[in-house]
Symmetry: C2
Subunit: 463 residues, 2 copies
């Protein structure tokens, strides 16, 4: 008998699960229906800031696969169709047509995949719904911003939040020739790295002509008679704005899952086992931005909204749906971003995370260069490491630098993945040639200094 | 009593050992004498092609520390002084002044460090000593080439050997506006990667306007009446040349060690233990290009001439001389190079090496991009992996691509260092953002395909 698979959400996890399940199943073994409430499938949300910046010229470049391509692959894809309820006992999903021109109804399933993604945080501040205040989550958001920037003579952009989306949108606004102010309540921008590293990011952003105001809380938005935002008010000052970008982060979109009675973790994400199966439900699966995953260092559940995890989850779910074996090994918090020419990478635990996880640790920070110091284009790169006290186990790495610095974070990520201690890393056989690194690569220099700190048990002054 | 340390060779290993020993010893605990036969200390031999190319403008940029700086650090440095014999029983080194204006004599030692480096291969071919035929090993060589290129209207350069020095010098000659022909006896250039990857290097070099002639043996050099080279003769053809660069590789310089009775390994390098102590001799140490080191995959002794190993050896020797603990963990054959915009990285074993080591293996090759496929500057990167049959243990990785591809080899190096199997690598948490990689980084795509090949035990057709 053909197994009926229903997937809620047509982006990375959902479509990857759907395609993998179909591809690895025999003829007529499975029948896959995907419900997607938006206009698009399988798009790169991470690419939206670069599209808005004009770096990527065409919206369609961000779409890995269109609805029609998915249909050609044999998926029953229902666009503009919102799942409204799940009955886990009856194994039925209710849905409605978003535009009113489609049909409402119910779908029975044998297997259900939840890929409902995340929702941007949007605090109920005065004026937040004014014209000219934009989130950056969907292609529709991107279209709205591009239209707005084309239509009018905007001069001043205010970006609220200095995380990934915040700094990437700050870059986009600079590239669109706007004056940019970035606001954040933390003491330094980009709290994905520790404050001492964030201070380097701040300095670089200011060097790019951005105004960075930290330690401020946004309290509301001034709105003109035409209904359009005119300024952002914080607890300390007011910043005139022609356009406002919200980059306050996201949280897992688990309304449906919660109403259906699925287990939600402390992080706010759906709890699954390593096969990405919702705990206690043999035939319900979830992945992507709506779930929490195991952090291999803190051993806690974390909800990390990233396309790379979402794609992995989708592939694992699809493999399992097709009778194969897929298991997600967890995350270590690796991420990379850039603001114009400044690259920022991080993996493992920052200081606050390490403390929250109960680790005792030492920290070190070194400066090195991307290429041999005498080579043209040599630029400073700062590397911070956290290593566990006594064991010396690498707990975290943060890199801030210019060209060719950020991706070195993957070497640290691979080291953490293997539970290496910093002493072991000191003499690793990494590649060297003058156009690629100093004779002691920054990774090795950092490891050596960290090993010394572990040996001497140098106390940490909180960053 | 002050311990007398004598170091033979004043480049990476020797000076690093000398400085580390001094820095980590108490006042008057050690007295360090270094004998260096050349004019320079602590220079970047790897940087010479870039200096010749004009990419690095000043010779002094390549000198990490001058003789005077070493002397200020307290080292008794004797330049232009050649060690001529070692008496291990009497613990005495004989030396002579190279220029005749210094003194000859003997030095007693308590500890001896051999850092005699490597010698370029220079087969006894007819005409090899003609004017206009250059090796590229020392700063003196670099000076001679630069002087020669400045003095005359050269048009055609022939590079003999398509290894690291060969391709880097081919780049240098192109940047100096010469017509470049590269000759090698192997079927494809750059035998540090397998022939199927070398073919990509060849195509790229030809695309840069170089002539690449492989499968040819150089038989001699035609010399004009003025004593200057005019052409390079192979077993198949003759290539007119105004200047000839030899890039035939190097071999460990072990004459002194051999005469003294130290053990030389099958690779041609001095045999040491992990502390870099010559086997059987408590107080004799050796490191850098003149030794062989343990290969962590083949478990054989290999002589790899690379500044990064030389510096590590020097630090380890110096640490041990100062009563600390240093141990060299071996190598895995990681290296990186480039020809103009083409980057080449390799780590672990190539196919011939894997076979010679007795491994059964599968291979896979994938194409990916350096950044998200839709991102400006996206360029193809080819990654080849070797994984052990059954176990799936990663045995080797090779990368050929453009910007931002080569340094990814360090991720594979770290994986090999940790004896990861390719299946484990498939879902590693590596960094992702569109300006840095596709959502599945090339490392993960390659690992997944290799895991599949291991599972299906796909036979290897010899590359």
């Amino acid at each position: 008998m053909t197994r009926r698979i229903v997937v809620i959400g047509g982006d990375a996890t959902g479509m990857s699960a759907a395609n993998t399940a179909l591809r690895h199943s025999g003829d007529d073994e499975v029948e896959v229906t995907v419900l997607e409430q938006g206009h698009y499938t399988s798009y790169s949300a991470c690419g939206i800031p670069y599209w808005i910046a004009g770096t990527v010229s065409d919206r369609d470049d961000l779409i890995a696969r269109s609805p029609d391509q998915h249909r050609e692959a044999g998926i029953d894809l229902r666009m503009r169709t919102e799942a409204t309820a799940i009955d886990l006992d009856e194994q039925v999903v209710s849905f409605r047509a978003v535009d009113g021109d489609g049909e409402d109804g119910e779908l029975g399933y044998d297997d259900l995949v939840l890929a409902t993604g995340a929702r941007p945080l949007r605090p109920p501040l005065e004026g937040i719904d004014a014209e000219g205040v934009f989130g950056v989550q969907s292609l529709e958001d991107g279209e709205a911003i591009i239209k707005d920037l084309a239509d009018s003579g905007h001069r001043r952009a205010v970006v609220v939040g200095a995380g990934y989306i915040g700094v990437e949108m700050a870059e986009a606004m600079i590239l669109r020739d706007l004056e940019v102010t970035v606001l954040d309540q933390a003491p330094e921008p980009f709290t994905q790295v520790d404050p001492d590293m964030g201070a380097i990011v701040r300095e670089a952003m200011e060097g790019m002509g951005m105004t960075v105001r930290t330690g401020v809380s946004v309290e509301g938005f001034d709105v003109g008679d035409d209904g359009r935002v005119t300024a952002v008010r914080t607890d300390q000052d007011t910043h005139p704005a022609d356009v406002v970008i919200l980059g306050l982060g996201v949280r897992p979109n688990v309304d449906l899952a919660q109403e259906a009675g699925l287990t939600i973790g402390a992080s706010g994400g759906i709890v699954t086992d390593v096969a990405m199966r919702c705990v206690g439900h043999e035939n319900v699966w979830a992945g992507g931005d709506c779930v929490e995953t195991h952090h291999r260092l803190s051993h806690q559940g974390v909800a990390i909204a990233l396309g790379t995890h979402a794609n992995k989850h989708g592939r694992i779910i699809g493999t399992n749906l097709a009778g194969g074996y897929g298991a997600f090994p967890g995350v270590i918090g690796t991420a990379i971003s850039k603001v114009c020419s400044l690259e920022i990478g991080r993996t493992g635990l920052g200081e606050a995370e390490a403390r929250a996880a109960g680790y005792g640790y030492v920290t070190t920070r070194i400066e090195s260069t991307n290429v041999a110091g005498y080579f043209p284009g040599a630029e400073t790169m700062t590397v911070k490491l956290l290593a566990e006290k006594r064991s010396g186990k690498l707990l975290g790495a943060q890199i801030v630098g210019r060209a060719d610095s950020g991706k070195r974070i993957d070497v640290f990520a691979t080291a953490i993945w293997n539970e290496m201690d910093v002493e072991e890393m000191t003499f690793m056989d990494l590649s060297y040639a003058p156009p690629f690194s100093p004779v002691w690569d920054a990774v090795l220099v950092a490891a050596r200094k960290a090993a010394k700190a572990v040996e001497e048990d140098i106390p940490v002054s909180p960053a």
